[in-house]
Each structure stands twice: as C-alpha cells, then as structure tokens.
C-alpha cells in the first residue's frame, strides 16, 4: 500500500496544558512544510495546536505554507477521529510528555490515544510518530490487528517513539522555510522523519520505501546528530560554567536590574541545555514492526 497516493489523513499534533512552546510550534511548521513538499494534498493535512494565542500560532505556521489551514485544539482531534473518513492515518506528535502521557489539558495516556485510533470508523492503518519525552510509555500496548488484543482488532497501528523511557532530545537547527531561514530548537527524531518524507530512501534495500525505512533513517541520523551535540556541548559547557557564575553574581548583586536578570537567564538556558544534552540518552523504538515493513510512503 502507498500512503501519499492513498486515502491518508496526515496529522500534525501539538497538545499542551496551557500554551504550546514556540519550538514545538516550529516543529509543526517544519512538518507541514515537508509534507507539502512531499506532495501530500493540503486537503489531507490536519493541524492541532493548543494555546490561547491563535494569531501567534497561525503566524508561525504561515512561514511553512501558502495554504490556509484550520488549526484546531487537541481536544478536536478526538472528536474528528470519531467521524473519520480516511482509510489510513499518519500522526506526528510533538510537545511535552511524561509519565502521565502526552502533555495536554487532560494528559493523553497511551490507551486513550490507542482507543481514539482503534475506534476511528473505517480506519485500516495508522502510524504514529511520537516525539515527546518518555514516549516509551506508549510501547508494549495492543497495537496490532489481531482479534482479542483490542476487541475486534480495529486498524493496524504502528507506533514509533523518538525515545524510550528517557527525555527526548532537541537541538538548534536552521532550516529554509518559504519566508527564509529560521532557527529553532528542533525535535531531532521528528526533524529527520520529516526530512525522510521529503526525500525517502530505501535504507534496508528491499526495493521499497517503507515507513520502516523512515524509522531506521530518523533513528540513525538523530543518534549521529546527538553524538555531535554531546561532543560540542562538552567544550561549550566548560566556558559556560564560568559565564554562568559571573552572570549569577552580577544578577544577585543587582536584583532589580532587568537586563542583568535576562542576561543570567540567557546564560543559564545555554548552560543547562549544554549539560542536559550530555546527560540525556535517546534510543528510538518501533511497535508492530512487521506491517511497518510493507507500508510504503
């Protein structure tokens, strides 16, 4: 089967309990840019982004497209799935995650997401790329089509996680959007999944460009970028330690000085990011891998 030329719903999903972070909205924008480049029809692309600043969200998204999209809240995803009319679904999830599930006004647990997918009328195949931290809590659930595992089985569900029970890694990148070159702190695994969508390659050499190839590509590439990140952050963190101490001292001596407070915050952000990168392990995973070898992009 073929996703782009088939009856497929492509979903970019960013839920948050409050306002979504800017970097995650840029992840959605980059995903949209890549899906349009790969030839997916705008009519088959659906965006769900939480946050009260709807104009700001739309403005970021507008860097990626000349088309107009109705950007809905995450709660609408569940309503829309109940009225599904597509045979296939590809879901990209960015944003935060934790032991409670995917961050949202009501956290989305593995079973609540699986239920929404399994009970989508007419759905035959679903693929979910999960970029959030601790995505591994979505592993080891009855995703397959086999009867009994989930009632009558429902659609074949394939889940892929950027990371197992660890944090997921993001790194600053600079990518070309329609409006120019944008910098943001991108989710590594999703960035490479989106990149693969624009120019899929047959990693395992079976003659097909399947979503299993997307997993292998994004996993290997994000690990390689992660290695580079750890090496460079080691050197940076040594200098940043001294900068951080100096900025902290200046701020504590002048607590009412907003400029010094922001400088301390800026140095702290870079310092903490450098240290976090070094002490975070990321290993991707795939659940229900056998059908994943047959589904072509």
């Amino acid at each position: 089967m073929n996703l782009i030329n088939g009856n497929t719903k492509w979903i970019l999903f960013l839920s948050a309990n409050g306002d979504a972070e800017d970097r995650h909205i840029w992840d959605v924008a980059f995903g949209l840019l890549c899906l349009e480049i790969s030839g997916v029809s705008p009519a088959d692309i659906f965006l769900y982004v939480d946050g009260k600043n709807r104009i700001f969200i739309s403005q970021i998204i507008s860097n990626a497209t000349n088309n107009t999209y109705d950007i809905k809240d995450s709660a609408d995803f569940f309503k829309d799935q109940a009225a599904n009319s597509h045979k296939n679904m590809v879901l990209f999830v960015t944003g935060h995650g934790g032991i409670e599930g995917i961050d949202a006004p009501l956290p989305i647990t593995p079973f609540s997401l699986l239920k929404a997918i399994k009970e989508s009328p007419g759905l035959e195949v679903a693929i979910a790329y999960l970029g959030q931290c601790h995505a591994g809590i979505f592993n080891y659930i009855p995703a397959g089509k086999r009867k009994g595992a989930w009632g009558e089985g429902g659609p074949e569900v394939i889940l892929m996680g950027a990371t197992n029970l660890h944090n997921s890694l993001s790194k600053s990148t600079q990518e070309n959007f329609l409006t120019g070159s944008v910098s943001w702190v991108a989710n590594l695994f999703l960035l490479y999944i989106f990149k693969w969508m624009t120019s899929p390659i047959d990693v395992d050499g079976d003659g097909k460009k399947t979503i299993m190839d997307s997993y292998k590509y994004a996993g290997a590439m994000s690990h390689e970028a992660n290695k580079g990140l750890k090496i460079s952050s080691f050197v940076k963190s040594l200098d940043l330690h001294m900068e951080w101490l100096a900025a902290k001292e200046d701020h504590e001596k002048n607590k009412n000085d907003l400029s010094l407070e922001l400088k301390f915050q800026a140095v702290s952000q870079q310092y903490v990011d450098a240290l976090s990168a070094r002490y975070t392990h990321q290993e991707c995973w795939v659940l229900n891998s056998i059908p994943a070898q047959e589904i072509e992009v």
Binding site: F56, Q59, S172, T173, Q174, S183, M221, E224, L262, A266
Partner: protein
C-alpha cells in the same frame, strides 16, 4: 512573517548572551505592527511565554506581559554577524564505528 538579518551593532544594548539565544532560536526578537500604544517599544523579546519591550537600541524598557497576547509577530530578527546553528537536515552521516 518577514525574516530579517541585521548587524548586532544595530542593537548594541542587547547583551551578547541574549543575542546568542536569539540566533539559536531559543528566544524570539520581533517587531509588531499591533504594538500597544502604552508601551513605547521598538522591538519585542519573547523569552518562553514572557514578552519584554525594547527601545530602538535594544535596552529593555519593561516586561510587557506573560504571553504574546494580541501582539502580532510581523517581523523576526537574527544577527547576521553572529553564529547561527548549522542545518541538521543537511547533515550527512559519515561511516562510523
């Protein structure tokens, strides 16, 4: 949204560490056509959800609010003479291990 690259000398009052955060895409430096009349900001700095107003030299005037609110983000700015991150999507893996 218009994207601009300007010299860091254009906004001399912004500390270099803040400029680094802007170029890395951690914080947003922007102009808004819908700026509040009560603030006299020439630029705005978005730090997480917080918004700060800056004058024409980059001095921080005040904290405007806890979120972007009604401000439209019409122009984004980066510093052309300071490092920007490499493109990860153009990164090529060499044979390793």
């Amino acid at each position: 949204m218009k994207l601009n690259n300007i010299s860091s000398k254009t906004l001399p009052a912004i500390d270099e560490s803040i400029k680094k955060c802007i170029n890395l895409g951690q914080w947003l430096l922007f102009k808004s056509s819908s700026g509040n009349d009560k603030d006299n900001a020439s630029f705005y700095l978005k730090v997480g959800q917080k918004i700060f107003g800056l004058d024409a030299s980059g001095n921080i005037i005040e904290e405007i609010g806890d979120d972007v609110g009604d401000l439209s983000v019409d122009e984004l700015f980066y510093f052309s003479d300071m490092p920007r991150p490499n493109s990860l999507s153009n990164f090529t893996m060499l044979y390793a291990g």
